[in-house]
């Protein structure tokens, strides 16, 4: 059980690190990575929840949620990459926050 607590705590640490990054990092690629770190934190907690019954087969529902979540996160990341790529091509800038004041 102790290792499961450790994993959950790691999951929360990842989630919170990512959350900070999404809001306070300017570079688009780094922000995208922060978003994925958030996701990884949530997924880690899902695995812990599935694995609580150490002896039997793990709970398949969190596993299915995890797989769905990964696909959704990949889709969103790829979409974001497409926009970011285009944005950098047009503006030559790597962040969107410089023009916030307007």
């Amino acid at each position: 059980m102790d290792s499961l607590i450790l994993y959950s705590l790691a999951g929360i640490l990842l989630f919170c690190t990512g959350l900070y990054g999404v809001f306070f990092i300017a570079h688009l690629l780094k922000r995208l990575m922060a978003m994925n770190i958030m996701a990884a934190g949530v997924f880690l907690i899902l695995i812990v929840i599935a694995r609580r019954n150490a002896e039997a087969f793990p709970d398949p529902v969190p596993h299915a949620m995890l797989l769905t979540g990964i696909v959704v996160a990949v889709s969103a990341t790829a979409f974001a990459c497409a926009i970011a790529r285009r944005y950098v091509d047009i503006t030559g800038r790597t962040g969107v926050d410089e023009e916030d004041a307007s």
């Binding site: 306070f24 797989l67 769905t68």
Partner: protein
């Protein structure tokens, strides 16, 4: 302005740390005994049409989620296609041949990858595997071929590309429409046909996922190409 930004950062950091503490307290209060749906899933497995519980959850018990998830994939592919002149990859210029050894290796690998993909699709019924794994393998070998400078078959990245992207999402809908027409609940497979319907949907989903992966990588690369050729605005 810089100073204000810094202050906001500090507040943000404090908020995140507080949130972390709150969440840690919560997680420590989580019950240690399993309270999930393992038992419920086990009890329903005989009617699911497959032998692997995760596949059963993904494609039968919570198939509705998976349908919508294929919709998310389709939206991502549409987002990338927005920067292409048409709904296909025909505007993508093939890369120059990279390295004869690598090109040859990719060509040799291709049939094996298709085989592995087919196997993964089939084995999902009994063990970890299924449409997503199969689609990703298929998609990556296509990307590999493209990276080594091989021209992809024209109809595949042309006329048939958009239908390929859509076929996974569409297969779920077709099944739902037929089942609704014969008076069953939404996406409620008849137990004796569940295995076949799942295989049908998964085969279509594999094609869509592979095409989407290709679109997401190849489509991105093209923009970079065009950017290198045209001067920055």
């Amino acid at each position: 302005m810089k100073g204000a930004g810094k202050a906001i950062r500090v507040y943000g950091l404090c908020a995140v740390v507080l949130l972390a503490i709150w969440l840690v307290r919560a997680v420590l209060a989580m019950p240690v005994e399993p309270g999930g749906l393992t038992g419920v899933v086990d009890a329903a497995m005989p009617q699911s049409g497959v032998k692997h519980p995760v596949t059963a959850v993904l494609l039968n018990f919570r198939g509705y989620d998976t349908w919508l998830e294929l919709g998310v994939l389709l939206l991502a592919a549409m987002g990338v296609l927005l920067f292409q002149p048409r709904n296909d990859l025909t505007a993508v210029r093939p890369l120059p041949p990279f390295d004869p050894v690598l090109t040859r290796a990719a060509v040799i690998l291709f049939p094996f990858a298709v085989l592995v993909s087919g196997y993964l699709l089939w084995v999902g019924k009994y063990a970890p595997g299924g449409a997503f794994q199969a689609g990703v393998v298929l998609g990556s070998v296509v990307i590999l071929l493209w990276l080594t400078g091989i021209r992809l078959p024209a109809p595949l990245i042309g006329r048939w590309f958009a239908p390929l992207l859509a076929v996974g999402f569409a297969s779920f809908m077709a099944v739902a429409a037929v089942l609704g027409f014969i008076g069953r609940e939404f996406l409620a497979y008849p137990p004796e046909q569940a295995g076949n319907l799942i295989l049908l949907i998964e085969s279509c989903a594999t094609l869509s996922i592979a095409a989407t992966m290709a679109a997401l990588i190849v489509g991105l690369r093209t923009q970079a190409q065009h950017a290198e050729e045209s001067p920055h605005g």
